[in-house]
């Protein structure tokens, strides 16, 4: 809402004209000023002049010689505009004056005729776009008067963001009322004098839908002469960002800006049978609105209709067939009240945002229609020669009932934290237009222009607003202490481990394209292949909710490779969404996902291994160490992964994730050519368990010996290690695999696994001799569980 300071001052005498102070006052009242524009004259030395005579230029057809009186005497100037005649009042730029854009005006020779100064157009004065003709001033202005004041300059325009709960602030009068309340000064009433009417008028109004239209007024006006509106009104409309059109239309807009009440002027002669019906749209009905768009109406749309066809969308936009035109002489002025939600939904449905919608959807003052109608009628009479025809038609099927709220004084202190007496509270509320009786509790009546105030809490907000939020004393309460949730603790621990392992965290969108998910090739019975769809996605690329973090991570690698940004090691901690039919909401487990490609760490001038599945295996070990969770890998196959280089991650025997190399075909779908290592693990599984208890490291020397086993190639190393550990007893401190090979001297289909075992006792030095039975037990266990034979044994 753009509000001109001069316009506001028509209604309230402010103690200051300082734009900064006024803007801060609006801000403090919850009327956020987004911009303050100081409108100053971009010209000087331009005065009112009267056209006395006009004659042709002796040497040029396109210009004329105009004699004017500028208060200091008569003079003749050359003028190229034709939109005026003798007697017109014009803006004359004297010799030595300066026009918009810094143009200095002197005495010029135009085809042999001297022209001292010039007659100006709107554009030359920098007050409008009109350049085809000169600016015509209102008659009756004294020649020689500087036009700056006539144009209402200088002025200040405040651009105010009005919150959805404040319909009353969508008007100059409402904003003046707020300033008046703050400064404690009276606000002047809107002039509602209606000139005497002539008898007659046959128009009829019928409201078929009183819920959508609780009140409808119609004023018939005859003898209207459509033409341009006066300069002062055009300047006012421009200050509010509204384009002037014609006097009748401009008046409806002007009164809407002034009072907050939208209205519509029909050409009475173009309303069939002069009958207005307010009803819901009929099935299949359509309407061409003023913007030239033909709209198919919804059965919930409220329309202003003739006896048969719709004339306009109620409270939103009129139709082209019945609008006021240059030839219009009889006007029907509709000023009605519409229910906010219906207007809001119809406006959204048709994508129409109008000044009227912005007001009706907030809830216009239900008592305002006759007031605004009178104001507009008076202006049409004054500025367009109209005469009211008959009396105001005022259909009022649902009268407004004034709300009353009982407010206990202690409630104000309980919610605001500042102690106010009943008297103070009453004073603040009265200044805002509320009626107050009693001391404690206060009985408060709500003015019709504040439909948002219905409860004590709403009144307390009004008190706070006028009292000043910054005047309320502060306090710093503290909670009983709870700290991080387990989820947050795990997130932090896992993130720190991943960062320490060289991975960088990314954030990606939750929605992905179906095609990206399909690249991973989930089976028909895999829930990850059945993502939940966004019903109203922004695009096909953002159509479904991710069931896995892998597409986002692989996309991350692709972006880095495509931009030649260098090797990337990425991770993300976020939830995925899995279908849960019958549940109120789908499953949303949080996952850790990672992906990496390129070379491992190390200086490039030395050999560096390419990343492969062992990086994933090592990362799982890092996570296990960082979180204290025992994570075990088991060879597995998973959609999207290399068939021979993938493992399930197990915790407590349950599968909690999968890691490995991405299948080269899948990687290729993301334009990745080298080995791509990736994985995904349930974050919940990485939550640190209870602390197992501290143990003092043994100070005694270890016993170390090596064992090598000859096993079938298909036996996983993990199985051999598990057998060794199971048989080794509590003194085994470490079992390190230091060699794995196949080929001669082994038989085909066999491999050798060499382990270095370290034993240490907590309380004494172990001797080699006591290792003999241990060694034997290990060898036997490995043979029993894996068929492995001790080499060289």
């Amino acid at each position: 809402m753009k509000a001109s300071l001069r316009w506001l001052q028509e209604f309230v005498d402010l103690p200051t004209e300082d734009p900064g102070v006024i803007a801060a006052t609006f801000d403090g009242l919850g009327l956020e000023v987004e911009a303050v524009t100081e409108v100053v004259a971009d010209f000087r030395g331009v005065v009112v002049a009267k056209v006395l005579a006009i004659r042709p230029h002796p040497a040029a057809d396109r210009v004329r010689l105009v004699t004017i009186e500028d208060g200091a005497g008569g003079r003749e100037v050359v003028c190229g505009a034709w939109n005026f005649g003798v007697g017109a009042t014009v803006a004359y730029a004297t010799v030595g004056s300066r026009l918009a854009g810094g143009l200095d005006v002197g005495e010029r020779d135009i085809r042999g005729v001297r022209s001292p100064g010039m007659i100006c157009s709107e554009r030359e004065l920098g007050i409008g776009d009109e350049a085809g003709g000169i600016l015509l001033l209102d008659d009756g202005l004294a020649p020689g008067t500087d036009i700056t004041g006539i144009l209402g300059l200088p002025d200040v325009v405040f651009d105010i963001a009005i919150t959805p709960n404040r319909p009353d602030a969508m008007s100059i009068h409402g904003l003046a009322r707020e300033l008046g309340a703050f400064f404690g000064v009276e606000v002047r009433h809107i002039d509602i004098t209606v000139p005497p009417s002539v008898p007659g008028g046959a128009a009829r109004v019928r409201i078929d839908d009183p819920a959508g239209c609780p009140r409808f007024t119609a004023r018939q006006i005859t003898g209207v002469k459509v033409g341009p509106s006066p300069l002062w009104m055009r300047m006012r409309l421009r200050s509010a960002g509204v384009r002037p059109i014609s006097n009748v239309v401009d008046i409806t807009n002007y009164v809407m800006l002034e009072t907050g009440q939208p209205m519509h002027a029909f050409d009475l002669d173009r309303i069939p049978e002069e009958t207005i019906v307010v009803r819901r749209a009929a099935p299949g009905e359509s309407l061409t609105t003023l913007d030239g768009v033909t709209r198919r109406l919804d059965a919930a749309d409220l329309v202003i209709s003739g006896p048969e066809t719709a004339l306009g969308l109620a409270g939103i936009m009129g139709g082209g067939d019945s609008e006021v035109a240059a030839t219009t002489t009889r006007v029907l002025l509709e000023v009605a009240h519409f229910e906010p939600t219906g207007v809001l939904l119809t406006g959204k449905r048709h994508g129409l945002r109008s000044e009227a919608v912005a007001r009706f959807e907030r809830g216009v003052d239900p008592l305002l229609p006759p007031v605004a109608s009178a104001r507009a009628t008076g202006l049409i009479a004054r500025l367009a020669g109209g005469v009211p025809l008959g009396e105001l038609i005022d259909e009022h099927p649902r009268p407004h009932r004034q709300a009353t709220i009982v407010l206990a004084v202690r409630e104000v202190e309980r919610l605001l934290g500042v102690r106010l007496f009943g008297l103070e509270i009453g004073t603040l509320l009265r200044r805002l237009g509320f009626g107050v009786s009693g001391d404690d509790p206060l009985t408060v009546t709500v003015p019709s222009y504040r439909p948002d105030v219905t409860r004590p809490a709403d009144l307390i907000e009004e008190v706070a607003r006028l009292y000043g939020l910054d005047n309320i004393p502060t306090a710093l309460p503290h909670g009983p202490g709870g700290g991080l949730s387990e989820g947050e603790r795990t997130r932090r621990a896992v993130r720190a481990a991943m960062v320490g392992a060289g991975y960088s965290e990314i954030f990606s969108f939750d929605f992905i394209g179906r095609d990206h998910l399909a690249r991973l090739g989930f089976g028909e019975d895999d829930p990850r292949g059945h993502p939940l769809a966004v019903r109203n996605p922004l695009s096909d690329e953002l159509a479904v909710l991710r069931t896995t973090l892998l597409p986002g991570l692989l996309e991350g690698l692709r972006v880095n490779v495509a931009r030649h940004a260098g090797d990337a090691a990425l991770f993300e901690i976020a939830s995925v969404v899995l279908p849960a039919p019958g549940e109120p909401i789908p499953h949303q487990p949080v996952r850790l996902g990672f992906a990496v490609t390129g070379s491992g760490p190390g200086p490039a001038w030395q050999p560096r291994p390419e990343r492969d599945a062992l990086d994933a295996v090592g990362l799982v070990a890092t996570l296990a160490a960082a979180t204290g969770v025992d994570l075990v890998l088991a060879q597995a196959t998973e959609p999207g992964f290399h068939p021979g280089r993938c493992a399930h991650v197990l915790a407590d025997g349950a599968v909690v994730g999968a890691v490995g190399e991405i299948h080269p075909d899948v990687a290729a779908a993301w334009d990745l050519s080298g080995r791509v290592v990736a994985g995904e693990i349930a974050l919940e599984a990485l939550a640190r368990g209870a602390f197992p208890g501290f143990s003092v490291p043994s100070v005694f020397p270890p016993v170390v010996f090596d064992l090598a086993f000859d096993v079938a190639a298909a036996i996983p190393v993990g199985q051999v290690v598990a057998a060794v550990k199971a048989a080794a007893g509590p003194e085994l401190e470490d079992a390190t695999i230091f060699d794995v090979f196949s080929g001669p001297p082994l038989e085909a289909g066999r491999k050798s696994i060499a382990l270095r075992l370290t034993f240490r006792h907590r309380e004494r030095t172990m001797v080699d001799a006591e290792m003999v039975p241990v060694r034997q037990a290990i060898v036997e266990r490995v043979r029993a569980e894996t068929g492995g034979l001790l080499r060289g044994g």
Partner: protein, 347 residues
């Protein structure tokens, strides 16, 4: 049997040759000529057992003297040579220290995570609990329970993402705010409640410099017997100073939200220009930081609390916005860019 004077002559000769030894191996060899297996001194020591007392006394003295002298001299020569040899080896081991080294792998936490944790920690220090909740949420928790009218524009498909789950097409959505977790938390707990809820939220905004359909919020809620707007002011002022510095000033301007009454916006004076006006604060001296207010009684009623017995405040602050402001990030979409050249810059 070797004569004592022959032993002494041998000793003198070796002592004379030791300074000429060029390596510890040569020293070892020279020492062995006198003292090694089968060498004269070793043999003489062995013969002492069978010698007469007189010979044993003379010879024994010579053996001891020569052994001591040679051992001492050889040791001294060895130490001298070893120092030189080590110096040679170290000289050979010289490494060009301007070569790129073996850099430990290092990743970075995302800036949003860093800010997220920092804000959470500020409130944890005030005794708050951290809670989280589902991102795919029901319309009841996201709107109805938060006093949002059925026809409120934020519910429209142009503003909110709806998810194909269940029979009601507008029943399940991507939450537009972290506030539904307030409701879930209040349903599950009784006052006093001091909780913060960090998380992802979603609005149906096309992607541009200042909009992303996904962003992050931290919601705060305090409900107790006597929570007031003054408590809200003090808490958020503390937060602004903890995050932007202890000299910051804040102001509260009335605003509107469906789930708080009274509602306000908090502004903080610009940390970049100390309030004098700059690019960060768009010349205003103030930065709009967050929305807040006293919990609307309808919200308490929806979760079964008695609005006449308890009161509370709530606020919501944009984590992305905090990160954007403090680190001078030009565009929101930077946060969703996986380019490692961006990620590596995050502190």
């Amino acid at each position: 049997m070797i004569a004592p004077h022959d032993l002494r002559r041998l000793g003198d000769e070796i002592l004379a040759r030791l300074p000429g030894a060029r390596s510890t191996a040569e020293v070892d060899a020279l020492e062995a000529e006198a003292l090694g297996p089968g060498a004269p001194v070793t043999e003489a020591r062995r013969g002492l057992r069978d010698a007469s007392d007189e010979v044993r006394r003379e010879l024994g003295r010579a053996v001891n003297e020569v052994t001591a002298a040679v051992t001492a001299a050889a040791g001294e020569r060895r130490r001298s040579l070893a120092g030189a040899e080590r110096a040679d080896r170290l000289a050979e081991e010289r490494l060009d220290m301007t070569l790129p080294g073996r850099v430990p792998a290092r990743g970075t936490a995302h800036l949003l995570s860093t800010v997220w944790d920092e804000v959470v920690d500020i409130f944890v220090a005030l005794g708050y609990t951290v809670a989280t909740g589902p991102e795919v949420e029901t319309a009841y928790y996201n709107f109805d329970a938060l006093n949002t009218p059925p026809a409120h524009p934020s519910r429209l498909e142009s503003d909110t993402f709806y998810i194909d789950h269940g029979s009601d097409p507008e029943g399940v959505l991507l939450r537009t705010q972290t506030s539904p977790v307030q409701v879930r938390f209040m349903e599950a707990h009784q006052p006093p409640i001091y909780v913060v809820v960090p998380g992802r939220v979603y609005r149906r905004d096309a992607i541009d410099a200042t909009h992303t359909p996904v962003f992050h919020q931290l919601e705060g809620l305090a409900v107790d017997e006597a929570i007031t707007f003054g408590d809200l002011k003090g808490t958020l002022e503390y937060f602004a100073r903890a995050f932007f510095g202890s000299r910051r000033r804040v102001r509260f301007l009335p605003h509107f939200f469906p789930f708080t009454e009274p509602s306000a916006e908090m502004h903080v004076d610009c940390f970049a220009c100390e309030g004098s006006g700059c690019r960060v604060c768009r010349q205003s001296g103030w930065i709009e930081l967050l929305g807040c207010g006293v919990v609307d009684p309808n919200v308490f009623t929806a979760v079964g609390y008695d609005p006449s017995a308890v009161s509370g405040f709530a606020f919501g602050v944009g984590i992305d916005r905090l990160a954007l402001i403090r680190y001078g990030i030009p565009e929101l979409r930077v946060f969703f860019d996986p380019d490692v050249r961006i990620l590596r810059q995050f502190p």
